[in-house]
Symmetry: none
């Protein structure tokens, strides 16, 4: 579809969140279709996890987004989907790969939303494909467990913070979940949640560096808990790390089922977003260093640095590999 002014920031760059929402919609369609391809109980595929995603080149207003999706692995209860987004300038015909994403879905019964159904197996053309898929499946399963334990952190408000401290840019947003946000099962689409997360992370980044910012990458996101229609969700973001030219922001999503529900507020999702600051010509700008004050902030900065260096090393290894081929 064509990118509209509302999909983009004032510099005309499409929000990362808009792209994540399109990716998730494509993934939900293909995996729901697959899970209902054999006779049996009807089901709706719910997003369980999105693997780390890099935004390779910014998309602009007026360009057309081409989204293609393919099922690459099935376990007994989950589906792995690979989604590619190409941006196409229909005036010049130029096409660019915007990003590639890998998503995991789980089929939930349409009649009983707490029941996970079985997934019809796909056919692999080579035995290797299945083995590699299984390896990816095991890895993400382990990672899901780990983040579940980490998930208890809370962002406390800070009064009169200094510029460039963590408290200065931290932000939060509340959203009342409406019918358009939800699947047939009455739960929020994963893509809607990711779009709101990107919105908060973008505001944190812009408050910190006060320039035009764009999403550079999103770390793996695990959806541990479903969010029901009618909930109020609070999305909070704080900066954890800055390199010379990038900012890492941690985002939490808490759901508050406050009408007619006995349940307390709970943490539904958390993730790390990385942003860069762009000049008017689209070149990356230096970013002011994050000032850490408390022990926790310093620890999180070091952890963020670890993730940053690891990603950088991985990317260099990939580039060397590519150069050798």
């Amino acid at each position: 579809r064509i990118m509209r002014p509302d999909d983009a920031n004032i510099a005309g760059n499409v929000h990362g969140g808009t792209i994540l929402k399109m990716i998730e919609e494509a993934g939900a369609i293909i995996s729901t279709r697959h899970c209902n391809s054999q006779a049996g109980e009807p089901s709706v595929a719910a997003l369980a996890r999105v693997e780390r995603t890099d935004f390779l080149s910014p998309m602009c207003i007026g360009e057309v987004a081409n989204v293609s999706a393919e099922i690459t692995y099935t376990s007994r209860h989950s589906v792995e989907v690979q989604v590619n987004v190409m941006s196409e300038n229909i005036l010049t015909g130029a096409k660019k790969l915007t990003n590639k994403a890998t998503l995991w879905y789980v089929p939930l019964s349409l009649k009983n939303v707490n029941k996970v159904l079985e997934v019809p197996p796909i056919q692999y053309t080579r035995k290797e494909q299945e083995d590699e898929g299984k390896k990816r499946y095991e890895e993400q399963k382990l990672d899901r467990l780990e983040t579940k334990q980490r998930n208890g952190d809370v962002i406390f408000p800070i009064i009169n913070p200094e510029p460039h401290t963590v408290g200065y840019s931290q932000s939060s947003l509340i959203h009342l979940v409406g019918p358009s946000d939800c699947t047939l099962l009455g739960f929020v689409h994963g893509g809607v949640t990711m779009k709101l997360m990107d919105e908060v992370a973008g505001i944190v980044a812009a408050r910190h560096c006060k320039t035009n910012i764009v999403t550079a990458s999103v770390d793996a996101i695990n959806f541990h808990e479903k969010i029901k229609k009618g909930c109020v969700i609070t999305i909070s973001g704080r900066m954890t790390f800055t390199s010379n030219k990038s900012m890492e922001i941690e985002v939490f999503v808490d759901a508050d089922p406050f009408v007619d529900e006995p349940r307390e507020r709970y943490r539904a999702v958390s993730a790390f977003f990385t942003y860069v600051s762009l000049s008017k010509e689209g070149k990356p700008l230096p970013v002011p260093q994050l000032l850490t004050e408390t022990e926790d902030e310093k620890r999180r900065f070091e952890e963020g640095k670890g993730r940053y260096l690891q990603t950088k090393a991985k990317r260099q290894a990939q580039m060397q590999q590519a150069a050798q081929q």
Copy 2:
């Protein structure tokens, strides 16, 4: 209402699809109101057909759209509505007729959606009005039957197409039907479908000629099949004909009731859209000729030429008639 940036393309011209959506909403309101004006089973008017519509002058961001609707004929089971759209520049006070449309609605029972109810007859001021309406009614009925037969065609993807061939510009878009897209009966508003059709047709036209394009006219659209909430719809478009300054695009809408429905994918709507290419000063530009390769493409080109010449002849006859008066 005031036209916003999201209603328009990057050159500031309001999408034909936005206007079609407003027209259909006005038609649905007036015909639902009429069908419930007498005591009896409550009903919701569903769009059955839109007659050929010309876009007389482009509307721009910031202008106000004034939409007026009037019932012009009733048969036993259908209502004919005439809708006019005026664009008003509230700064200069200038008003222009943007388009006139004729829509046909059918009242469906609120309790049993497969039951078509009777329409209360309207009063005609002159006997002629009734006769002319009846003639229009018979004509559209015949045309509806014909398009139903034509509806089986499918658009296949083409790999590495040459510029200006049919395969080069053909496009498709997938949309998951949400609650805001639907009427009280849980079926997609005709206006929502037309807006998506216009979006796809616009992408096809822009891919072909790589300039700023606007909707010039829409041929009669017949809504043979309803589309239910929760369906995935695929809207595909391909170019069928080019004259020196216009492009004709055929658009298909297929619905995929992929959850909880035994039904196969089916063709819901099809229609022809005509686009022109505009220079920055708003003047029509020449259009590159469509290169036809297969026998089918050549046949469709000739058929498109037939429609083009017929419309041109009709318009000239009208102008001569107007000149003689």
Copy 3:
């Protein structure tokens, strides 16, 4: 237009904010049209104030909103507009007055947004009309000055608050101002701001009483400061007063022109919203009493009580007057 699921809460009642947005759009159109009705510098009418508005009966999904607007007074630099909203059930034909609102607009030059232009005078059918209008004009002018002074208050976050305290339900929302939120001058439509204010106030009310809530009335809102495209706005709400069956919530809007602007964060708008809690049958429910802790909270509760009693007395006086006629 037809009310959609997205316009309403999960009980199907249309949000007060949706109605306020429609009212303001109608007011902006009629006053911009009037201000440009004579030759001279083109201008766009900007919302300066909305008088107190009562929501007389709830509107539901599927109903049609009929909005009518009329200019009732002009001063040298401002326009008073009266807007009525009728809800129409197109199935039964039943119409109800949803609310009446009075809005004040000021024409700003399209070329120089800081220049307020002159308003062409309207013709009054009776001298009394002009005198009464002038009286309303003087009253609102006085009230505007007063609220400007009150506007410095800030909502501080509270950690682990007790149920039914002020801190327990207070909420805030951030929103990045996009192109669709703005007028031709690049400033946020008053209606967009009011919709967001109603959203926050509704969340505060629902958090307090955990039931289905609807907007009952909005006190006069003064728009002291314009908000520019690209700003981040923070909308915060806190409960100030509860009667047996109503809740009063104070809402603040702060704008943060954080990209490319030398200006600090500033207070753009503030207002009081009153909500009631409804049972499934649509009857008003008792509301838990607000627990006030600090001196400021107690003071605000007494002030809210004052406003509540004043409104009640006014309404009784009007009813007696109506009964005597």
